[in-house]
């Protein structure tokens, strides 16, 4: 739900006696993701609010399924609790606005029994400026920006959105990304065009990409010295009927580690080539996703009508190469990549400019006729 220029009442100011253990207090109130939060102080909240442009009662979004009002003040409070620095504020706000766009269907993502959790990938100059990690261990720990930006999003989904496990969040298993799941693309190495440029933004624009995602599935290939060999390993990871895309369609992501991306880039392959190769080769048979009709005849209305419904019909893992969101991320040593399945057709990833209008740059995509496959 998007609300323009609305104002809400400030959060009620409460105080506790000096000497109260604040970390425990926030735990006891049920405002924590399980880890200790940073107790907000007036100074920290003010600094965060200033980074957001002031106007504490300005409503940025309502967060489902509770539809709590995410005012700038509430956004600031959660960011401080997460341990964010004020310069991360534009990223967290843009991410929340992207998540609350109708197409993302945050209501569904919050409530589902599937383990999907929002994955955030940041592109453009802001990533480097605020010190995000796009290199070694990007999906791991040790970087304040990655850790706290992802955590702020989760705290908001919990506190404002009400997505508490066992309550409105019905995820059967959950996954570690529900603590934090935020990275930046490794644009510095210049191996492939950046993701946001492929989608029509200028390199100097900064963007957030959000997708409801399973954890990354590691793809190891220490042998191939050509694009096909490396991509065949990724195809292998994609061609299983265990992940949600297989039975629920939708979008997925593929992350190329820099060593793999170097091999691919040196062979002259572009983003388009990689995505098309993956899409053309990754497949299941319809029989696999229908369990060979063992439990009754299956049609599966979640899959596009044009998929074959014979047992031996070869069906794609996602409906098009454009449903594969490709990123170069990680450290320069190690021949690894990753496949990141999505939730399904029920949610669409969202790409949004940070502090912008939302949508590709005004100049529009420059490669509409395929003349510059990026």
């Amino acid at each position: 739900m998007r609300v323009m220029s609305a104002q809400l009442a400030p959060v009620s100011a409460t105080s506790v006696p000096e000497g109260t253990d604040l970390v425990e207090w926030y735990y006891e109130r049920g405002y924590s993701d399980g880890l200790p939060v940073v107790p907000p102080t007036p100074a920290k909240v003010a600094a965060m609010l200033e980074a957001l442009g002031g106007e504490p009662q300005q409503l940025e979004a309502r967060v489902p399924p509770r539809w709590g009002g995410l005012t700038r003040e509430v956004l600031a409070i959660n960011m401080v609790m997460a341990g964010c620095r004020p310069e991360y504020a534009p990223v967290v706000r843009a991410a929340m606005l992207a998540l609350c766009e109708t197409a993302f269907n945050l209501n569904g993502v919050q409530a589902t029994t599937h383990m999907a959790s929002p994955l955030l990938v940041v592109n453009g100059p802001i990533a480097r400026r605020i010190g995000m990690n796009a290199g070694c261990n990007a999906f791991g720990s040790g970087n304040r920006a990655n850790a706290t930006i992802g955590r702020a999003i989760r705290l908001i989904l919990l506190n404002v959105g009400g997505g508490w496990p066992g309550d409105l969040d019905k995820s059967t298993l959950g996954h570690p990304g529900k603590y934090t799941y935020a990275v930046a693309e490794n644009e510095e190495l210049g191996l492939l065009a950046p993701y946001h440029v492929e989608k029509g933004f200028q390199a100097g624009d900064s963007t957030v990409f959000v997708m409801a995602a399973e954890p990354p599935h590691s793809v190891t290939n220490h042998v191939a010295n050509d694009p096909q060999g490396i991509l065949d390993s990724i195809v292998s990871a994609m061609s299983t009927f265990a992940h949600n895309n297989a039975v629920s369609s939708g979008h997925c992501a593929v992350v190329l580690g820099p060593e793999h991306a170097t091999t691919i880039s040196k062979a002259g392959w572009k983003r388009h080539d990689v995505k098309q190769y993956l899409w053309t080769n990754a497949h299941n048979t319809f029989g696999q996703v229908a369990f060979n009709h063992r439990y009754g005849k299956v049609y599966n209305r979640s899959l596009p009508v044009w998929y074959g419904r014979e047992l031996d019909s070869r069906i794609p893992v996602v409906p098009s190469a454009e449903n594969i969101h490709l990123f170069v991320i990680g450290g320069e040593a190690g021949r690894f990549s990753a496949f990141i399945p999505g939730w399904g057709h029920m949610s669409s990833p969202v790409l949004r400019e940070i502090e912008g209008k939302g949508g590709p740059a005004a100049a529009g995509p420059r490669c509409v006729d395929g003349t510059c496959y990026l």
């Binding site: 399924p65 209501n107 309550d167 409105l168």
Partner: protein, 78 residues
């Protein structure tokens, strides 16, 4: 729940069927939407993995409740 809210807002009495595990969420959603008057119809969980015979039973379980919702006589289970 949201579709029921939309239709009720437009003047159409709408019976929303949920399974028993969903009742809590139904309560939260109607409160968040500001429409406390929505009375959900509740059938036993699960629906997805049961036999056709059991589905017939669920329909029978829902029948009187659905009519009650349209008439305004159905007590609130949530």
């Amino acid at each position: 729940m949201h579709d029921g809210f939309s239709l009720e807002s437009l003047g159409v009495p709408t019976a929303v069927i949920v399974t028993s595990t969903f009742v809590h969420e139904a309560r939260v959603q109607r409160e968040a939407l500001g429409m406390q008057g929505i009375v959900p119809v509740v059938i036993d969980h699960p629906l997805s993995s049961i036999s056709d015979e059991e589905i017939r039973g669920r329909a029978a379980q829902a029948l009187a409740q659905v009519i009650g919702v349209w008439r305004g006589t159905q007590p609130d289970p949530a």
